[in-house]
Structure formats: C-alpha cells, structure tokens
C-alpha cells in the first residue's frame, strides 16, 4: 500500500480517472519533498564533505518514497487522461487538441496552410 494517500477532498477540476488522480498526487508529493531532495542532492554532489556523510545522504535519497521522484511525473491530457501524444502548450492529447482547435476553443489557433 502506498504511503501517500490521495487528498481527502477531490480537488481536480478537469477530466479525472485513476491515472490522472495518481499523477496529481505524485505532483503534490514531489512539491512537498522537493527541498529535502535538493538538500540531499547537494550533500551528495559536494566532494568537500566526508565520504560517509555523502553515502548516508545517497541512501536517504534512494529510500525516499517513489512518489517524491520527479521522474514519476507524467504529463497527461486534461480532457481525456491520455498519457501519450500530449502537446505541452495545451496540456491536451493530439486528438483532443484537434477537436478543440477546430471548434475554435483555443484562442488564436487556426488551421494553417502555407
């Protein structure tokens, strides 16, 4: 069972399935643990510190919960929860982006021809 419980109150305003909720939880976990991670990373990279301290820091960093890792975070579509083919500018998967763009919901986005 994971250490990180989801937020008691559901706080997503977009499309939600378990994957987006989980990703959201990971983002919040990372935000909370980031200063600690950076401190440990600093100790590890600092060659002027004793080797023992650095080794301990390495162990502590690896033993932190996996949800606090930034590599666990994945951009997902806010309209369909898809995990692949996301346009970062719009946080949408390619197909949802196309639908929205054709409908004219995205300011300034037009069909291009040149």
């Amino acid at each position: 069972m994971s250490l990180f419980q989801r937020a008691k109150k559901f706080d997503l305003g977009c499309f939600a399935n378990i994957k987006t909720i989980r990703d959201h939880t990971k983002r919040k976990a990372f935000e909370a643990a980031e200063p600690e991670r950076q401190a440990l990373r600093y100790i590890i990279r600092n060659t002027t510190l004793p080797a023992r301290t650095r080794a301990i820091a390495q162990l502590q960093l690896t033993q932190m919960h996996c949800y606090t890792r930034p590599t666990q975070i994945k951009n997902r579509c806010i309209l369909g929860g898809k995990g692949k083919g996301i346009l970062r500018d719009f946080k949408m998967s390619r197909y949802n982006f196309r639908l929205q763009a054709l409908e004219g919901n995205l300011p300034g986005v037009k069909k291009a021809s040149w």
Binding site: F10, D11, L12, G13, C14, T20, D23, H24, R27, K28, F30, E31, A32, E34, P35, Q38, R41, Y42, I43, I44, R45, N46, T47, T48, P70, I73, N75, I78, K91
Partner: protein, 104 residues
Amino acid sequence: MSVPRARMLELVKAQCQLFSTTFNPEGVRTGNKILRQRLKGPALAAYYPRKIITIRDFQKEFAPLDLMIDDEVEDDRLEHIAALKARGKGAPKKKNSAPDFKKK
C-alpha cells in the same frame, strides 16, 4: 611576457573578494549548482486545473438565505432513476447480510 600562475591566482582571489563570489581555483565540485537551481515543484503541481467551486457549494452558501439553486444535471439524474424505479428496472436494494453462496 607570461604572467606567473601565482600572480594570476592572487588577481582572481582579489576579484572574488570584491564581487563576493566563490574562490575555487582547483575547480572542486561543491554541488553549488544544486543550490542555484530553482524549485520546480509549484510549477509542476499547478499542471492540472483545480476544482474551485461546485454547484453544491453554492447551494450550501445560499441555503441560509432561503435561496434555491437548481442543479440541472443532478435533477436529470434523479428523474431518470425515478423513471427506472417506476418501471421496476431500478437498482436492487442493498442486502444487509452477506450473500449465501451454498443456496441454489
């Protein structure tokens, strides 16, 4: 013409004192680049839009003032369920005891 290394080092040291930068002639790795990095947590956590307010919140807010607010989606759902019930097609009632598997 060449300037001795010691003199150059002195110059660099003076420069570092003046502009209060770190004097590190050997290029020892001190991990300062980690400290210089910005925290990206807030930006990452703001990816998904948050739920700000719901119709139910409105209803709760305005209930003391005797103001009614219609939640059309909820009303439709209840109406649909009532129609199903009337036709005898509603969801079954929840059983209080655990289901008996042996009985056939």
